[in-house]
Amino acid sequence: MTTYTRHPSSFKDPSGFVFESEGKIYRQVNQFYAAQYRQLLDSGLYKQLVDRNQLIAHEEVADNKTGMSEWYTTLLPEPISPISYPYEWCFEQLQDAALLTLSVLKTALQHGMILKDATPYNIQFHKGKPVFIDTLSFDTYDPKQPWIAYRQFCQCFLFPLYLEHYLKTDIQKILSTYIDGIPVDFVAKLLPLKSRLSLGVWLHVYLQHSATTSPRANNKHTAATFSKKKLLDVISHLTNIITNFPANKTYKTTWSNYYEDTILSKEYLQEKEKIIREFCQQTNARSVLDLGANDGYFSRLFASHNMQVIATDSDNRCISRLYQEVKQKNIQNILPLMLDIANPSPAIGFHNQERAAFHDRIKTDLVAALALVHHLVIGKNISMPVLADYFNDIAPELIIEFVPKEDEKVKQMLATRPDTFVDYDQANFEQYFSKYFDTLEKKAVVGTSRTLYRMKRK
């Protein structure tokens, strides 16, 4: 037996659990799940899903690493990094994850199996595409029974998609509060009246709402029988609803046309690109966290230098646009995620340990903060010493741009508020950051008052 640490999110399912041992992530299959696990493999379902890149591949390790008596086998799944959660995804990412779940379910039914749960936490973005990661979610199918995870699917996928579709606002962050998905009564109250005209909303939201709130409905489920055809009808209907959400959202946000609308000139971008390219050639970093990535102009540049890029922005539409581009061009090393630096995803779930906080989960060799410092200092009132301390926590290496008060953008920001930022200048910036970092390179962006730095943590 070797030493192992059970993953704190893996405690609900008696079928097995995820653990870490000697730097690798394993999944133990318990005797409890042995029959279903054999069915998954012997029916050809595993092979079909893995061939289609819908399920994560694993290697079987015939070694009881935990020494537990209920052990059946140990799986070593293909490693996935970074791990992201639905409250960091844009609409289209959740939509694709939902469609993957339904597709996996449909394929499972063809092999006499069914999904026993339907949560976005079973899905990760791997090489640019969603992939199902919970190998122990498959159960033997009983055609007389409806889908046990139907309600969970609605709460975790359909309802957030409906809310964002009808309210035209960024609602997915709410999933960090509702770890098991948004309750139906909440959704029924939030959706506008016109949504009642949709058959899908009427059936899956309002009808479900009235059925779950009716005391008669709660103890009657054993009487009625179901069939495979009925289940396939429900799956087809859900698939249609989710596929047919209009592709391009019309609502505009502050940042959605940043590069098109702003005063930033083409020359500035070209000059900046030239410097960042030089920085990329100097660094040995293999992974980068791009903060305030907007539409991913520089994320693509990092990606073209073979770095694994996590492109983050607090703006839902920017992330959405980048995700669609990544998908269309099949870019495997950019993961777009929503992140508000002033309020990153917290640790949530039981014991505050089920889902780790953003910066505990996502570690990179390099952090890029381009044209960002002024937004944090002046826009969010995060003082420079506090900011330097934050970057010290997250960045072994840092590419950072300083935008002084003389800059047009900063002038605009200060035009509508009193200038209380007395220490906001380049000398102080350098001093505060030198407490934690050594400056390796410093380059002025020609034609502007901005400066780019490449720094290394002391």
Binding site: I148, L203, K229, N240
Partner: protein
């Protein structure tokens, strides 16, 4: 990752499936009527996956 069966979730699926079943049934008839009168060029549209 594992869930408890949702109370009420079973009955609601029975109702939804019944409604969808009826809708698809009538849609199917509609397709047949349409095919009879309009005579589509492609033979296979009649048997198309009606659930779509």
């Amino acid at each position: 990752m594992y869930i408890d069966p949702g109370s009420g979730s079973y009955l609601i699926q029975v109702i939804i499936a019944a409604i969808l079943g009826a809708l698809f049934y009538f849609k199917n008839i509609w397709w047949k009527v349409k095919a009879f009168f309009w005579k589509p060029k492609k033979e296979d549209t009649e048997g198309e996956d009606i659930a779509k």
